[in-house]
């Protein structure tokens, strides 16, 4: 449904998207996980046809986004990272506006508006001006505007940033509903938990390039079964040799990180090794996407 091949987007020297390729099938949620500035929005904006790629091919439902744009865009819904709403119109008027922009009208449009309002839980507030909405409600409306025309391909660019837990639940459930209805969904986020919960397949993106891609199960294999242990203290008097049994990720005078299987059961044993190091903080990250990201890039996902 969504096909993206060797997408590259340059801004002068900067390569915002670097040879990105993936496919998303109907009824599938594809996660794009990466820190701020990784190139998620750039990828989404090229997909939607807002930005022109420097090179590469993108098609939606078999229609090239550049070249056959009108047909491609008909099947596309976009939830942009930045809100795109008229604050001085009501929620319903905004939906009406965007519905008509996608060619809906009359009773059919009204019915769809009622449906999506119920879906995102804004039926009660539909007549109020958007400027009176909370951040989460605006996000939900922003989402609702993108699904009025029942797109076969839906792009969501960090739809849950700055959203209250209730709105988040609403949004994630709505995305699942769309998937069940057969839409191909791309979901970008820098929230690892969200992506892990929601997505069938994931690409981890950093500095414009995909550094890992696959189903959660595939990525699990890449992560290994190891947990990441992080200690803070004073390690200047001790040699990295003490960790020879482990896979060291980072060794600094005030902080060390290393990988370890079944960390919980071995923690006391490990702390014994460092008993002279004035340990101030201990943390164990269970194998997950975050630890995979650290493993691949040496950096945390959120910094």
């Amino acid at each position: 449904m969504i096909k993206i091949q060797s997408l590259t987007k340059r801004y002068g020297e900067l390569i915002a998207a670097d040879d990105i390729s993936f496919e998303v099938n109907p009824g599938e949620i594809f996660g794009l996980l990466g820190p701020n500035g990784a190139g998620k929005s750039t990828t989404i904006n090229c997909l939607s046809g807002l930005l022109k790629p420097t090179s590469g091919d993108i098609s939606i439902n078999g229609h090239a986004v550049i070249g056959d744009g009108v047909a491609a865009k008909k099947h596309l819904g976009l939830v942009p990272q930045d809100l795109a709403l008229y604050e001085d119109l009501s929620g319903r008027e905004n939906l009406n506006f965007w519905g008509q922009a996608y060619g809906l009208s009359g009773p059919a449009l009204n019915k769809r508006i009622d449906q999506v309002l119920a879906q995102v839980g804004l039926t009660d507030r539909q007549k109020d001006r958007v400027e009176t909405y909370s951040g989460g409600m605006k996000r939900r409306l922003n989402f609702a505007c993108a699904i009025l025309h029942q797109p076969k391909a839906l792009l969501l660019d960090e739809p849950t940033v700055g959203v209250d837990p209730q709105s988040r639940v609403h949004l994630l459930n709505s995305v699942r509903t769309l998937k069940e209805q057969g839409a191909a969904v791309i979901y970008t986020s820098h929230y690892m938990e969200e992506v892990e919960q929601l997505c069938d397949r994931i690409a981890i993106i950093d500095k414009g390039a995909i550094i890992a891609q696959g189903s959660i199960a595939t990525l699990r294999k890449q992560m290994g079964e190891k947990d990441l242990i992080e200690l803070k203290g004073n390690f200047s008097s001790i040699d990295v040799e003490v960790l020879k049994e482990y896979d060291v990720q980072e060794w600094k005078d005030n902080q060390v990180q290393f990988w370890c299987e079944h960390a919980a059961s071995k923690l006391s044993e490990i702390l014994q090794l460092f008993k002279d190091c004035d340990i101030k903080e201990t943390s164990v990250k269970q194998a997950n996407l975050e630890s995979l990201f650290i493993k691949l890039t040496g950096r945390a996902l959120r910094d």
Binding site: L50, G69, V70, K73, D82, A84, L85, Q100
Partner: protein, 418 residues
């Protein structure tokens, strides 16, 4: 027009309507200015009839002197000698038919005015004369209206006008400052009063003591310029609207809908036409009612004003979209307003400007379009002759800029500008 286009236009009209203070300020400010200007600017220079106006000022306040002084100032100054008289002397001279008109302001006039009590200026006209007494009347009506509006809306600015009147100096810089202050005051009102609730009540009544004859329309010379100022204001506001749509994310999101920004731009053009049409209809209604605009010319005038509005809008939009940021666009468009209005003949009729400046003004889009319609309205030239070339030139400019601006809107949607 297809559906998207209609939607864009309809929502734009709806939004303009909800923010109707914008619309009101486009209309009110120029009209107020034409009233003030017509009294304050140095008038024309053709030979005119001369008459005597008697004045009995029992109040002797700043305000009464301001109002009466206005007769002896500006364009009317050349028509009249103002003579201060006692009540009985005024009575005697009017009875003898030795003056064109007699104005009398009662005691406590200014106190009442400031305390918002109804106040009265008495006007007695010489029934044997037509033009001169009616000029006094029009002038006083204008002043009374202006005083009312000023009192209601612009206490501070009123002080400044009074100072200008007392010192007898009105230079361009003062007028510009005044205009900006008024615009700012309106903008403030716009932002502080939602829902806006200013009711204009008339506190001063002009009481006429004998029946009036047809009004002399010297203000007709000023009126078209003021109408064009309204068009300029409307065009300015609509040329900035694209930056609003960029800022609120509408523009990029529309760019990814099937029909994209072309429909959007056509819709915005339709919205602009609708706004210019509303503006023109209201102003022409005022024109017919107050300035004796020829009714048979109305359809032509309205079409011309809408056309002119679109041309001016496209020009301002071009400069607005050329800028790297909303802020710089705002500065440029605002800065362009004053020279356009001044040179284009909206403050001072081109007839009263130095020849070089008037010539320069006629090359500005608004100046050219205004001059053409004035030739028809005021000088009675056949419209086919007066309008042909300005129409061709304006149409070409608007069409070329329309396509350029569409491209620039496309760029604006995609670029990281704000």
């Amino acid at each position: 027009m297809n559906r998207t286009t209609m939607t864009i236009a309809r929502h734009a009209v709806l939004r303009t309507w909800r923010e109707k203070w914008g619309l009101i300020s486009w209309l009110v400010i120029p009209m107020m200015l034409v009233f003030l200007m017509s009294l304050m600017s140095g008038g024309g220079s053709s030979p005119k009839p001369h008459g005597k106006v008697l004045v009995t000022d029992l109040d002797q306040s700043v305000l009464s002197q301001f109002l009466i002084g206005s007769i002896g100032q500006g364009p009317t100054a050349e028509f009249f000698t103002v003579k201060a008289v006692s009540k009985s002397e005024g009575q005697r001279l009017m009875d003898a038919g030795e003056a064109s008109a007699w104005l009398m302001i009662e005691k406590n006039f200014m106190d009442d005015y400031l305390n918002k009590k109804p106040t009265i200026i008495r006007l007695r006209k010489n029934p044997a004369q037509t033009v001169l007494p009616n000029m006094v009347e029009t002038g006083m009506e204008v002043m009374v209206d202006a005083a009312d509006y000023l009192q209601m809306l612009f206490a501070d600015e009123l002080q400044r006008i009074n100072k200008m009147v007392i010192s007898g100096k009105y230079d361009d810089a003062d007028l510009v400052a005044l205009t900006l202050a008024i615009k700012r005051a309106i903008d403030d009102i716009e932002s502080t009063l939602t829902p806006p609730q200013i009711k204009l009540e008339k506190y001063i009544n002009l009481v006429e003591e004998n029946q009036n004859k047809p009004r002399f329309n010297f203000a007709l010379l000023m009126f078209p310029g003021a109408v064009f100022m309204s068009l300029l204001f409307a065009a300015m506001s609509m040329s900035m609207a694209f930056w609003d749509d960029k800022a609120n994310g509408i523009l990029p999101r529309l760019a990814v809908t099937p029909h994209g920004l072309r429909d959007y731009f056509i819709g915005k053009t339709a919205h602009a036409k609708a706004m210019f049409l509303i503006t023109s209809l209201i102003l022409m209604a005022i024109g017919v009612w107050y300035f004796e605009v020829d009714v048979t010319l109305l359809p032509l005038l309205i079409i011309w004003l809408v056309f002119s509005g679109v041309v001016i809008w496209q020009v301002l939009l071009f400069f607005s979209l050329l800028m790297p940021s909303r802020k710089s666009a705002n500065i440029v468009v605002n800065a362009a307003m004053l020279p356009l209005a001044m040179l284009g003949g909206s403050f001072f009729p081109a007839e009263t400007m130095a020849e070089g400046l008037a010539k320069l003004g006629s090359f500005l889009p608004n100046g050219m379009l205004l001059k053409a319609i004035k030739d028809v309205m005021v000088r009675g030239e056949p419209w086919q002759n007066a309008l042909l070339w300005p129409f061709i030139i304006g149409l070409l400019v608007a069409m070329i800029l329309w396509f350029i601006n569409l491209r620039m809107v496309n760029r604006l949607a995609r670029e990281a500008r704000s």
